[in-house]
C-alpha cells in the first residue's frame, strides 16, 4: 500500500483543469437559461424616487424586470450575522453598485441593453466614505436606527465595538513609549473568476441555487429565510471556484436570483463582470493607533491600541473579522499588559467581507512596525528584539486560551537564516522580518459522510468547497491512508447541500483539521461496520475481526473490502457508510465563542533593493516558514504559502481600491487596479515548513491557507526602512510613497527606521 499522507500527489481534478474540461459556474449549460443584469446607479448614496421599467420590458427577449415593488414588504433582508442586507435597495442605495432592480433576458447582451433602459429617478445624497467622515458629528447615518433598535450604537455609524484587555490597565511605565497611527487601504479580492449566481425553481415548491460560494450552508439559511422556505426546499450547489480568498464566502445576490427564478419559472444566471465583482466584496480598510511600551532590554511592557475598520453598509461577517483580529491583539508576542478597542464602522462603500487573513493584516501592519521602531530606538537588533518577546511552547499567549502550540522562536530563526539575515547587506539593500498569526473559526462543526462501495472504492461527501486550495486532494489522501485503499479509488463530492452533510464554512484554514478529522472518524466507522459485517457473514464474533491496510482479517481468512461487503450483501450489492463529525468546543464565556484549536502561524523574511533616486524597489528575497504540524501534501501546502505571500506582495506594494469624494470607484477593473504579475515575483522565493506533528488535525496537521497573506507588508516595509533609513505608516508602499518619504527625510531625518 503506497504511503499517501505526506506526499505531493498530483491534484485531484488537475487533469480537468489543464485541459479546460472543468466546468466553472459560467461554463455550465442549463436548458432554458435566462441571463440577469443588475440595474445600478452612477452614484453611491441616493434616494430612489421612482423606477420605470416599461421601456426595458419592451425590449425583445426580456422576460422580467424585477423591482422592489415585486418583492414582499417589508423588504426581505439577510446576512450571515445580521439580517440587514436588502434583496434590492430599499428606498435608498447605500453604495456604488447597490442594485435597485434586475433584468432577466434571453441573452447577456439583451439583459445589459435592457438594464440601461430602466429609468431610475433618484436624488444623490451625501455619504461617508472614510472612518473619519463616518464618525464625524452629524455624519449621515448609513443604517436606519430602526434596523437595529436594540443596538447601543444605532444613532451612530459604529456597527459594533469590541474591547479586550489583560494585565493592568494603567501599567504605562516603560523605558520607551511609541505611539503611531497606521493605515491600511481597501483592497479587492480579484479572484480571476468573477462571481456567478444562478437559481432555478425546484420541484416541489423549492429552489436550487448554483453559486460561486465558499459556504453553502450559511447561504442556504439566507435564501430560505429570505423566501420563507424551509431549509429542505432550498438546495445550494457550490460550484468549483476560480479562486475565492474570502470574497466568495457569504450571501450576495443569490436571494435576488431565487426571487427572479421563481418569478420567471426559469433558471436564471447572473454572471458578474470582474469590475462588478469588485463591488460585491472587498477588504475592510483599517486605521490603527497603537501606543506601545518597552523595557530598556526590548521587552513589551504594554500595548494599547484602537483599531477602526471601515466596513460597508451591511454587517456581513465583519463582527468576526474585527473581533478576531482585536482578540489576538498581542500578535505572536508575550505582552503582559494589553488593551485593544476595535470598531467596525459603517460607510457608503461596497460591502466589506472576509478577505484572506481576515482582520489580521490591518492590525499586524501596526504591531510589527511598532516593534521595528522600538528596536531602532533601543539599539536592539530586530531579530533579537522579536526573539525576546516570543513566548515558549506551552506558555500562555492570551489568558485562558490555548497555550502556544509550536516552537515559534525556531520558526523565526529559520526564516532569518534562510534570508541570510546575518550576511553583509549589499548597498541599497535592506532586510525585514514579521510574524503572522491567527486562529481558525472557533466553536464550529464539520460532518463527513464516507461511503465504501461494493467494489472497495469510496466516495466522501463533504460540505467543504473547492476554490483551488486542494481540499479534495488532501481529503483523498487522508481517507486513502485511513481506509488503506489507493488514492485513485476515492472520489470527493463537495459542497452541495442537497447531497452532503453539514459543514460550517470553508474558511480560516480550518478544513484540513476540522473536516479532515470528520473524515477520519467516518473512515473509522466504516472499518468497524465492515468488520462487523464480515464477522456476521462468517459466523465469528466481531472482536475476532480486525481491519487494517484495506484488508479485513478474520480468524481463518483475509478479505479485501469488496469481498467483505459481498460476503454480507451478495455480489455487486450493498455499501458501508460512515458518518464522522468533528466539533470544536463551544464556550459561551469565551469572547469568541470558544478557544483556538491551534494557532496558525507563519514567519516572513524579506530582502529588498531600493533605488533612492526613484523610490522604486525590487523584492529580491521572500521567505516563508509555516508551522503546519504535518503537511498532508507538501507541494500543496507550499503552494498556499507562495500564493498567499505573493498576494500580499500586491497588498504591500501596489494594491488599493480608491473611491472619489462621492464614493465612486476610481480604479474599477483590471486596467486600473493592479495585482502582481509574473514580473513582480521576488527574485528568490523560499517556502519552508516546520513539521512537528503537533497539531489537532489528522496526523498532527494544523491549518494552512490564510497565514501566507497575513504579514508580508510589515516585513517588506521593514526591509525598505532598513535600506533607506525611512519608516512608513501607510500602505501600499508604492515607489511614489517611498520617494516622497525619502525627500521628506532629507529635510528632517527619521529616527525610527532600523539601522
Amino acid at each position: 500500500m503506497p504511503e499517501h499522507v505526506g506526499q505531493s500527489v498530483k491534484k485531484s481534478g488537475g487533469r480537468e483543469r489543464v485541459t479546460g474540461a472543468l466546468q466553472f459556474a459560467a461554463d455550465m449549460q442549463m436548458p432554458g437559461l435566462l441571463h440577469a443584469k443588475l440595474v445600478t446607479l452612477d452614484c453611491a448614496r441616493a434616494r430612489i424616487l421612482s423606477i420605470h421599467a416599461a421601456a426595458a420590458e419592451q425590449v425583445e427577449g426580456v422576460h422580467c424586470v424585477l423591482t422592489p415593488a415585486d418583492l414582499p414588504r417589508p423588504m426581505p433582508r439577510y446576512g450571515p450575522v445580521e439580517d440587514d442586507r436588502p434583496v434590492l435597495a430599499d428606498g435608498e442605495t447605500k453604495y456604488y453598485g447597490d442594485p435597485v432592480a434586475v433584468v432577466a433576458a434571453e441573452t447577456e447582451q439583451i439583459a445589459a441593453a435592457a438594464a440601461e433602459r430602466v429609468r431610475v429617478q433618484h436624488e444623490e445624497l451625501p455619504g461617508v466614505y472614510t472612518v473619519e467622515d463616518a464618525l464625524a458629528p452629524g455624519a449621515p447615518l448609513v443604517q436606519e436606527p430602526s434596523l437595529r433598535p436594540d443596538s447601543p450604537h444605532r444613532d451612530s455609524n459604529v456597527y459594533n465595538e469590541w474591547h479586550y484587555a489583560w494585565g493592568e490597565a494603567e501599567a504605562d511605565e516603560a523605558d520607551l513609549v511609541i505611539e503611531e497611527t497606521y493605515r491600511f487601504p481597501m483592497q479587492v479580492h480579484f479572484a480571476i473568476e468573477p462571481h456567478v449566481f444562478a437559481a432555478a425553481p425546484d420541484e416541489p415548491d423549492g429552489v436550487v441555487i448554483w453559486s460561486t460560494v465558499q459556504h453553502p450552508f450559511p447561504l442556504r439559511r439566507a435564501v430560505a429565510e429570505s423566501l420563507g422556505l424551509p431549509a429542505a426546499k432550498v438546495r445550494v450547489v457550490a460550484t468549483e471556484m476560480g479562486g475565492a480568498f474570502g470574497g466568495k464566502g457569504y450571501p450576495k445576490f443569490e436571494p435576488l436570483m431565487a426571487f427572479l427564478a421563481l418569478r420567471t419559472g426559469r433558471p436564471v444566471r447572473l454572471a458578474l463582470s470582474l469590475a462588478e465583482s469588485f463591488l460585491a466584496g472587498r477588504r475592510a480598510a483599517g486605521v490603527v493607533t497603537m501606543r506601545s511600551g518597552f523595557s530598556r532590554d526590548g521587552r513589551f511592557v504594554f500595548n494599547r491600541s484602537r483599531a477602526d475598520y471601515l466596513i460597508g453598509a451591511y454587517a456581513d461577517i465583519t463582527s468576526s473579522i474585527v473581533s478576531k483580529a482585536a482578540y489576538i491583539g498581542c500578535g505572536a508576542y508575550r505582552i503582559p499588559n494589553l488593551e485593544v478597542t476595535a470598531r467596525a464602522v459603517f460607510s457608503h462603500t461596497p460591502p466589506a467581507t472576509a478577505y484572506r487573513g481576515f482582520g489580521a493584516p490591518q492590525y499586524l501592519w501596526a504591531l510589527e512596525a511598532q516593534i521595528d521602531r522600538a528596536a531602532r530606538r533601543l539599539g536592539i537588533e530586530r531579530l533579537q528584539m522579536r526573539l525576546r518577546n516570543i513566548p515558549d511552547r506551552g506558555e500562555e499567549l492570551i489568558p485562558g486560551d490555548t497555550p502556544v502550540d509550536g516552537d515559534w522562536k525556531q520558526g523565526l530563526s529559520l526564516a532569518a537564516e534562510a534570508v541570510g539575515w546575518h550576511e553583509p547587506l549589499p548597498p541599497g539593500h535592506g532586510r525585514g522580518l514579521a510574524i503572522g498569526v491567527k486562529s481558525p473559526r472557533p466553536g464550529a462543526a464539520s460532518q463527513a459522510l464516507a461511503r465504501l462501495h461494493h467494489d472497495g472504492s469510496a466516495t466522501l461527501m463533504v460540505g467543504t468547497t473547492e476554490m483551488g486550495q486542494g481540499s479534495k486532494t488532501a481529503f483523498s489522501q487522508i481517507a486513502a491512508r485511513a481506509l488503506g485503499i489507493p488514492f485513485e479509488k476515492i472520489k470527493v463530492v463537495c459542497g452541495d447541500t442537497g447531497r452532503v452533510p453539514f459543514d460550517a464554512v470553508t474558511a480560516s484554514s480550518r478544513s484540513t483539521v476540522c473536516m479532515g478529522n470528520a473524515i477520519l472518524a467516518a473512515c473509522e466507522e466504516i472499518k468497524r461496520k465492515t468488520a462487523a459485517l464480515a464477522a456476521d457473514a462468517h459466523g465469528v464474533s466481531a472482536d475476532r475481526v480486525s481491519v487494517s491496510d484495506g484488508m479485513v482479517h478474520l480468524p481463518e481468512t483475509v478479505l479485501n473490502y469488496a469481498e467483505a461487503i459481498c460476503s454480507s450483501y451478495g455480489p455487486g450489492e450493498g455499501e458501508v457508510m460512515g458518518l464522522g463529525e468533528f466539533r470544536l468546543p463551544r464556550d459561551p464565556e469565551h469572547p469568541l465563542g470558544g478557544p483556538a484549536p491551534f494557532w496558525e502561524i507563519i514567519f516572513f523574511a524579506t530582502e529588498v533593493d531600493v533605488d533612492r533616486e526613484t523610490g522604486q524597489y525590487r523584492l529580491t528575497k521572500l521567505v516563508t516558514v509555516a508551522d503546519i504540524g504535518k503537511a498532508i501534501n507538501p507541494a500543496a501546502v507550499k503552494g498556499q504559502d507562495e500564493g498567499g505571500s505573493l498576494m500580499s506582495v500586491g497588498q504591500a506594494m501596489m494594491e488599493q481600491f480608491i473611491l472619489d469624494e462621492r464614493g465612486r470607484p476610481v480604479n474599477l477593473g483590471a486596467l486600473d487596479y493592479r495585482i502582481p504579475t509574473t514580473q513582480d515575483i521576488p527574485l528568490r522565493t523560499e517556502s519552508l515548513l516546520v513539521e512537528n506533528a503537533d497539531g489537532p488535525g489528522p496526523f498532527g496537521a494544523k491549518g494552512v491557507g490564510e497565514s501566507g497573506a497575513t504579514a508580508v507588508a510589515p516585513a517588506i516595509a521593514s526591509a525598505v526602512a532598513q535600506a533607506t533609513g525611512a519608516s512608513f505608516t501607510e500602505l501600499p508602499l508604492t515607489a511614489e510613497r517611498v520617494w516622497r518619504r525619502l525627500k521628506q527625510q532629507e529635510r528632517a531625518p527619521d529616527t525610527s527606521a532600523p539601522d
Partner: protein
C-alpha cells in the same frame, strides 16, 4: 443586432463556418457558439489573459479580437492541445509542478506558454516571466507556473540536432 457576417475559421483543426455579428468577439464565439468553455472570460478588457488562445500560432486575448477578424485563420484553444488521452508536455508539467490551484487562469496561461515555446524553445526564467506577464494568476504566486514552463521546454525539443517543427 445588425446583420451577421459569414466566416470560416479553423478551430482545433476543424473547419467551422459561422454567421457572426460584427461586434461579436472571438471569445464569445468560442464559448457560446462552439461550447469551447475551456477558454475563460474574466476581465473582458485584455488585461488578465484568461481568454488567451493561439491565432495562427500567436497568443491573443480572444476577448479583444472580433470573430470576423478570425476569418480564414487557424485558432487553437486549450481543448485542442492534448492528443487524445495524451496530455501536451506543458499540461503534464503544470500538473507535476503543482502549478494549478483553482485552474481558472490555467488554460490561458498554458496557451501563452505554448506560444512562447514555439518561438523560444529554451527560455531563461526571465524570458518565461516576461512571456507570461499578460496572464494573471491570483492563487499560485506564479513560482510553480514558471517552473512548469521551464520543465516542459526540454521535453518539447526534438531529440538530437533536428530543427524545431
Amino acid at each position: 443586432m445588425s446583420s451577421s457576417l459569414p466566416i470560416t475559421v479553423t478551430v482545433n483543426g476543424r473547419e467551422r463556418r459561422l454567421d457572426v455579428a460584427p461586434n461579436e468577439t472571438l471569445l464569445a464565439v468560442l464559448r457560446e457558439r462552439l461550447s469551447l468553455t475551456g477558454t475563460k472570460k474574466s476581465c473582458g478588457e485584455g488585461e488578465c489573459g484568461a481568454c488567451t488562445v493561439l491565432v495562427d500560432g500567436r497568443a491573443v486575448n480572444s476577448c479583444l479580437m472580433l470573430a470576423v477578424e478570425a476569418d480564414g485563420r487557424d485558432v487553437l484553444t486549450i481543448e485542442g492541445l492534448a492528443s487524445g488521452d495524451e496530455l501536451h508536455p506543458l499540461q503534464e508539467a503544470f500538473l507535476e509542478a503543482g502549478a494549478v490551484q483553482c485552474g481558472f487562469c490555467t488554460p490561458g496561461m498554458i496557451m501563452s506558454a505554448v506560444a512562447l515555446l514555439a518561438t523560444n524553445p529554451d527560455p531563461t526564467p526571465a524570458e518565461a516571466k516576461e512571456a507570461l506577464c499578460g496572464s494573471l494568476c491570483r492563487c499560485t504566486g506564479y513560482v510553480r507556473i514558471i517552473r512548469a514552463v521551464l520543465d516542459a521546454a526540454p521535453r518539447m525539443r526534438p531529440v538530437g540536432n533536428g530543427t524545431h517543427n
